[in-house]
């Protein structure tokens, strides 16, 4: 009996943890696609890159966390805005920009992938970051690493803050207005281009935070980028592009699925399930479950 309790507790906790991190990254992706109609296929690489940069700043350069974390976020946001002005902004007016952006960001992902292999990849296969808290919290009935507890709490906080921002803040509301109805938003005088930039910056920052939290909770390897891209795309499509709530719910569901499957078999089997779910959604309801 005790064993089952421990098992269940461990499934619940790991499900919650990985689920909220999935949700955070998926929320970033979803925000960008929902607003700009840009499927950001390199989002997973940015997620990975954030974790790698954090490792670089803390482990190699010895920076304290309160310097390193803002540095990572700043670097990531700066990069995305450079990319935006050189590349992304050219296609804002195109009607069929989604497919253009898909191919573009896949190319970008390939560049990142190559760069990581050529730089970080030469140093090591895996990367661990020292989390801000150590030790274990002894919650009945399983001990939990404090780092993971922190990661979960932080991820949950980010998601709540994001949802609140979109629902209650003036700027957040204009974001939602754009992804609910582009034409109407423009007629109401909302400057769509600055909203696009906001969505891009915010979405990328959120995904970057996801990468940082992931680095605290787990060990990173270079394949994590593509895996995250795949999973978060699936979450976005099933939950509905633009819906942070959708990203949250579906992210959690996927997280739990993975945790449960890990007990019996290789967690990659769970990935099959996500892909199948995504495919089914594409065929019957491409707008996802949570968008009207």
């Amino acid at each position: 009996m005790q064993d089952y309790l421990v098992l269940t507790a461990s499934v619940i906790t790991s499900g919650l943890l990985i689920g909220t991190i999935y949700a955070v990254v998926a929320a970033g992706l979803s925000l960008i696609h929902g607003t700009i109609l840009m499927p950001q296929a390199s989002n997973g690489q940015i997620f990975l890159g954030s974790g790698l940069l954090l490792w670089l700043f803390t482990t190699q350069l010895g920076w304290p966390l309160w310097t390193a974390i803002p540095a990572v976020l700043l670097a990531t946001i700066a990069l995305i805005f450079i990319l935006e002005s050189i590349i992304f902004s050219r296609f804002y007016q195109n009607a069929d920009r989604s497919i253009t952006y898909l191919v573009l960001t896949l190319g970008l992902a390939q560049i990142f992938s190559g760069l990581y292999s050529g730089t970080f990849g030469k140093i090591s296969d895996t990367f661990s970051v020292d989390p801000p808290v150590r030790g274990l919290a002894f919650l009945e009935p399983t001990p939990l690493p404090n780092a993971r507890l922190l990661a979960f709490a932080a991820a949950a906080a980010v998601l709540c803050a994001l949802i609140a921002f979109l629902r209650f803040h003036r700027v957040g509301r204009s974001l939602r207005a754009v992804f609910q109805n582009r034409e109407v938003a423009r007629l109401r005088g909302i400057n769509t281009v600055s909203v696009y930039r906001l969505a891009l910056g915010l979405g990328t920052a959120v995904s970057s935070v996801g990468g940082i939290l992931y680095a605290f909770a787990f060990t990173i390897d270079l394949t994590v980028g593509w895996t995250m891209t795949l999973i978060t795309f699936a979450i976005m499509i099933v939950g509905g592009p633009g819906s942070v709530l959708g990203a949250l719910c579906i992210g959690l569901i996927f997280g739990f699925t993975q945790a449960i499957v890990s007990v019996f078999a290789d967690p990659t089997i769970a990935t099959f399930a996500y892909l199948l779910a995504m495919l089914i959604m594409l065929f019957i309801r491409p707008n996802g479950l949570f968008t009207r």
């Binding site: 009607a95 253009t100 898909l102 191919v103 896949l106 190319g107 390939q110 050529g118």
Partner: protein
């Protein structure tokens, strides 16, 4: 005239075969021919039908794994395993296209990504047939009259396959089916109103393209002698697409030119193998930006 161009580009790599006995150069020549074949097949879908098929590499992989297994485990001769691999690839390609074929542009591409990812995962997680991530090694060269085919005959044979592939596509595109595919690419709704069975034609294009993917995949397996899931993943599909886009989609010479230019690149930077990804990625971005109107003007024209 255009046929002459095609023939010229096809013959160019043959020069490499005479450039001394550098194993690497000969190897690259073979790869160029394989990519010419694969890119021509992808062109059938992208250039002429207006669909970006991200599943292309995975389908080639299916043929590669089937062929390799038949030869190594079941002791079949390459020449018998090859058609099986090709047909299997064509059938799978056709089946995989069914549900997606009704989706428009972006969603079709997305579903292709999903299916390709599933295929890569399948390649890794059915180690009984694929040996997982480690891949299958020591795939023997095809045997003719008791002897394994040696360079440069093997490369010339592959060149012939590439020529047949490109020629087949050329003939197809000049036929009524070709005109139909082009019309569908331009405006599928108008085609339906004119009595053209859009879905059936697309399925045919998929079947034929998958056949070529299968041919290329099986040849690749026996030429390189080693296959792994990484060799047939999303990036491979993307890079084959790049070859077509760079060379000029919707023409017979385009994929040939693209394959010729892009295939040797990673070997120029042998020491910096990661550079290949950076260069290909940058080329993809460049191609998308500098083509007028971006991708949308050269992919299927979604009706207003």
């Amino acid at each position: 005239m255009k046929d002459l161009h095609a023939l010229l580009i096809l013959s160019f790599p043959v020069l490499g075969l005479f450039a001394g006995d550098h194993g690497l150069v000969t190897f690259i020549v073979g790869l160029v021919f394989i990519n010419m074949l694969l890119a021509s097949g992808l062109n059938l879908l992208y250039g002429f039908s207006g669909l970006i098929p991200f599943t292309f590499a995975g389908i080639a992989g299916i043929s590669a794994y089937i062929c390799a297994n038949l030869v190594i485990r079941a002791g079949w001769a390459f020449w018998f395993a090859l058609p099986i691999g090709c047909i299997a690839a064509a059938v799978v390609g056709l089946l995989l296209s069914f549900p997606a074929i009704r989706l428009r542009g972006f969603y079709f591409a997305l579903s292709g990504l999903v299916i390709q990812s599933a295929l890569t995962i399948a390649f890794v997680y059915f180690p009984a047939y694929t040996n997982g991530d480690t891949g299958i090694t020591s795939i023997p060269k095809p045997v003719v009259a008791g002897m394994p085919v040696a360079s440069p005959w093997f490369e010339l044979l592959i060149g012939a396959a590439a020529a047949i592939g490109a020629g087949g596509v050329a003939l197809l595109m000049r036929s009524r089916i070709g005109s139909t595919l082009i019309a569908i690419r331009e405006d599928e709704d108008l085609c339906r109103a004119l009595g053209i069975a859009v879905t059936a034609n697309r399925c045919l294009a998929f079947f034929l393209a998958s056949l070529m993917a299968g041919l290329g995949g099986a040849i690749y397996a026996h030429f390189v002698g080693f296959i792994s899931p990484r060799g047939f993943d999303v990036l491979v599909s993307l890079n084959l697409w790049l070859m077509v886009a760079v060379g000029g989609r919707g023409t017979v010479t385009g994929p040939l030119l693209g394959a010729l230019i892009l295939t040797p690149l990673p070997y120029v930077f042998q020491q910096y193998s990661w550079l290949k990804d950076v260069i290909y990625g940058a080329a993809i971005i460049a191609v998308v930006i500098f083509l007028p109107g971006g991708l949308q003007s050269i992919t299927f024209r979604k009706s207003a």
